[in-house]
């Protein structure tokens, strides 16, 4: 089995899906000859040609709009938006067409589209290259939001996203692109959308996270373990639809929870997760659920980034807080 990083596993998933299904086309800025600014699509234009791996104009609303039109016509487009901050120009297309065409046409048309985009901080990039605004899209009815945290997860989730008959926003944690490697099977496999996974089992506190924050959360869990605190760590994997069952069952067992995300706190997904815990497990709780998040600010440039992003220390502090309530 090959040991791959996240970039390589996503590339492998794209290549295999393009081989399997001639309807799959890729489009985005710099994805062809240049292989994408993160090299995720490296070699794919050479293999599949310019007509199926399209170097699009610098045109984000266009990229998403063209993809919707292609999908309505019967193709399965996978669009790349270079950074999540550049996706804002395409919000109108996502909200006006992609997410609602099935509803608007009462099932006559649907939109099997994947929008891939790197997201999140920690790569010392310029402004608007480190956004984590997944909650905007989780709030939009009709689109799924998927976030892989490791290379193995990424391949299986991306293949599922491409085969899904509805639009999927696939958020790739840019900090993870080349930071970890793991075994990724060459043969195709899928991982279900809408199901979280328990990465580490424990009885003392539930830690919920996704994307790049999962690795920070796991590091915090390992440190806590050294002090005798056994955390259960959940990787949400899909933010919409949210796997309430896995979270609630864990919280019923541990009676305490900490949610970790790098997005701003107010209106962030942590609030929704807490609401669901309250709806289904309030009386099991021994302490209010804690959130370790970014601040309600724009994510700062690199020099202040480490103050903004949730750290192992902040997570440890939150674990102590819910344990000592």
């Amino acid at each position: 089995m090959a040991i791959l990083n996240l970039v390589q596993s996503i590339n492998l998933a794209l290549r295999q899906e393009m081989e399997r299904d001639p309807r799959v086309v890729l489009l985005g800025e710099d994805i062809g000859k240049n292989g994408g600014v993160f090299r995720v699509t490296e070699g794919l234009q050479q293999k599949f040609g310019e007509a199926r791996v399209i170097d699009s104009p610098l045109s984000e609303s266009g990229i998403v709009g063209f993809s919707i039109g292609m999908s309505v016509y019967g193709l399965v487009p996978v669009a790349e938006i270079q950074f999540m901050g550049f996706l804002y120009g395409a919000m109108e297309q996502i909200l006006s067409h992609a997410s609602r065409i099935r509803m608007r046409s009462r099932g006559r048309f649907h939109c099997p589209l994947v929008i891939r985009t790197p997201y999140g901080g920690g790569i010392h990039a310029p402004e608007l290259h480190s956004e984590s605004t997944e909650a905007f899209f989780v709030h939009a009815p009709g689109i799924k939001v998927v976030v892989p945290s490791t290379p193995y997860q990424a391949k299986g989730l991306l293949i599922s996203a491409i085969r899904d008959p509805d639009p999927v926003l696939f958020l790739e944690p840019s900090r993870v692109y080349r930071s970890i490697k793991e075994e990724v099977p060459e043969e195709e496999y899928t991982l279900p959308l809408g199901e979280a996974r328990i990465v580490m089992e424990g009885e003392d506190v539930t830690l919920v996270s996704w994307g790049a924050m999962l690795l920070t959360t796991l590091n915090a869990a390992k440190q806590a373990q050294e002090k005798g605190v056994h955390a259960e760590v959940i990787d949400l994997r899909t933010l919409y639809p949210l796997d309430t069952k896995t979270v609630v069952e864990s919280v019923k067992k541990t009676k305490r929870a900490v949610i970790v995300h790098e997005a701003p706190k107010t209106g962030g997904l942590g609030a929704e997760i807490i609401a669901r815990i309250n709806e289904e497990a309030l009386l099991h709780l021994e302490a209010p659920v804690e959130r370790v998040t970014g601040y309600d600010t724009a994510i700062p440039l690199s020099q202040l980034e480490s103050y903004y992003l949730p750290s192992v220390n902040r997570i440890i502090h939150a674990i102590e807080k819910v344990r000592s309530f």
């Binding site: 104009p57 266009g62 063209f66 046409s105 639809p241």
Partner: protein
């Protein structure tokens, strides 16, 4: 070193029937007498439908409605040139386009009465539902044209939008991509001179909207949008060019919105009766009648017959529309995804028990 001209451009104007119904025989499209009468009958039907929609809205039997009045030649003339295998992306004022394409007119009433099933386009009809968000259908149409080209299907895509849409980014992003890939698409701009209350002179500094195509590497043409034969000819040529792989065309149909923006608008607040009068004299139906009369295929009794048939047909459409069962509340959840995720399945249960 002296400056030199690198490129120079021109924008053509096309009119086949003038305001008095005189036909330029050199430009006359090859339509049989029966086809000409069919075109006329559609314009009368749509005008009758439009008047009925207004009345139904005033009686509280229909929600907000965007009238076609003034656009009859633009919409019927262009839609007549389309093949069933072509694709259409259109906007909220394009009832006549959908009608000519074959959408049952009762469904248009149904949609404007607040029932999404009105835009459940019948299978096999390649028409995307009406777009409310101005101009956003343009990139979609361009993407569909790309897909057709990739699949080597010799069809064309027609996308309809208004003068206001030409100010939006999606218009420019769409035309740009279509130009880069020489896609099989026809951009049909229904320039009715108003985006609600904002007149064309505040929408653009360009002398024509057609010339915007030049910047994207293809032809733009301005057509008298109240001349059904001119619009038909321009659209037919552009569609044939598209299907042959010779790239996109922008057709600016120069017309006028005779009615209010919608039934919720009052156009007298922002435009003069004199201006409306000027356009009344350019009426698309009257000049077509004069032309048909000159060909000996129109007289008062034929007109009476066409108008009363249209009245009967629209009355029948109203009966059909008003006898439709109300929508199933579960539909609002059912069509969110192919398979309902657990949250929505639960919300569906809540809806059923509420």
């Amino acid at each position: 070193m002296p400056k030199k001209t690198l490129k120079s451009f021109a924008v053509e104007w096309l009119q086949v029937l003038d305001e008095q119904g005189n036909c330029d025989e050199m430009l006359r499209p090859a339509l049989s007498d029966a086809q000409l009468q069919k075109l006329y009958e559609w314009m009368i039907l749509i005008r009758t439908f439009d008047e009925k929609a207004f009345n139904l809205q005033r009686q509280g039997r229909l929600g907000t409605y965007a009238p076609v009045h003034g656009h009859e030649a633009t919409q019927v003339g262009s839609a007549f040139a389309l093949q069933p295998s072509d694709w259409v992306f259109a906007s909220y004022r394009d009832g006549a386009v959908y009608g000519v394409r074959g959408l049952p007119l009762a469904m248009i009433f149904q949609y404007w009465a607040g029932d999404e099933r009105g835009m459940q386009i019948p299978k096999g009809e390649n028409d995307f539902p009406m777009t409310i968000q101005v101009g956003t259908q343009i990139p979609l149409a361009v993407g569909a044209a790309y897909a057709a080209k990739l699949r080597k299907e010799a069809i064309a895509v027609a996308v309809y939008f208004g003068d206001g849409a030409t100010s939006k980014g999606d218009f420019h992003e769409g035309l740009n991509f279509a130009g880069v890939h020489r896609l099989p698409i026809v951009f049909i701009c229904e320039n009715n001179h108003y985006a609600i209350s904002v007149p064309l002179k505040y929408q653009t500094g360009s002398d024509t909207l057609a010339q915007k195509a030049i910047a994207y590497g293809f032809t733009g043409i301005q057509v008298d949008g109240n001349d059904a034969l001119g619009v038909y000819r321009a659209t037919l040529e552009a569609l044939e060019k598209a299907r042959k792989g010779e790239g996109p065309t922008l057709i600016e149909c120069f017309t006028y919105r005779m009615g209010d923006h919608t039934t919720a608008d009052d156009a007298s607040r922002y435009r003069s009766a004199e201006e409306v009068q000027i356009w009344q004299k350019k009426d698309p139906v009257e000049r077509f009648e004069k032309y048909l009369e000159s060909k000996g295929i129109w007289n008062k009794s034929y007109e009476e017959k066409v108008r009363s048939k249209a009245q009967e047909e629209v009355a029948q459409v109203v009966r059909e529309f008003e006898s439709l069962p109300p929508p199933d509340p579960e539909d609002m959840i059912r069509y969110t995804f192919d398979t309902l995720p657990p949250d929505l399945a639960k919300q569906m249960e809540n809806l059923k028990s509420s």
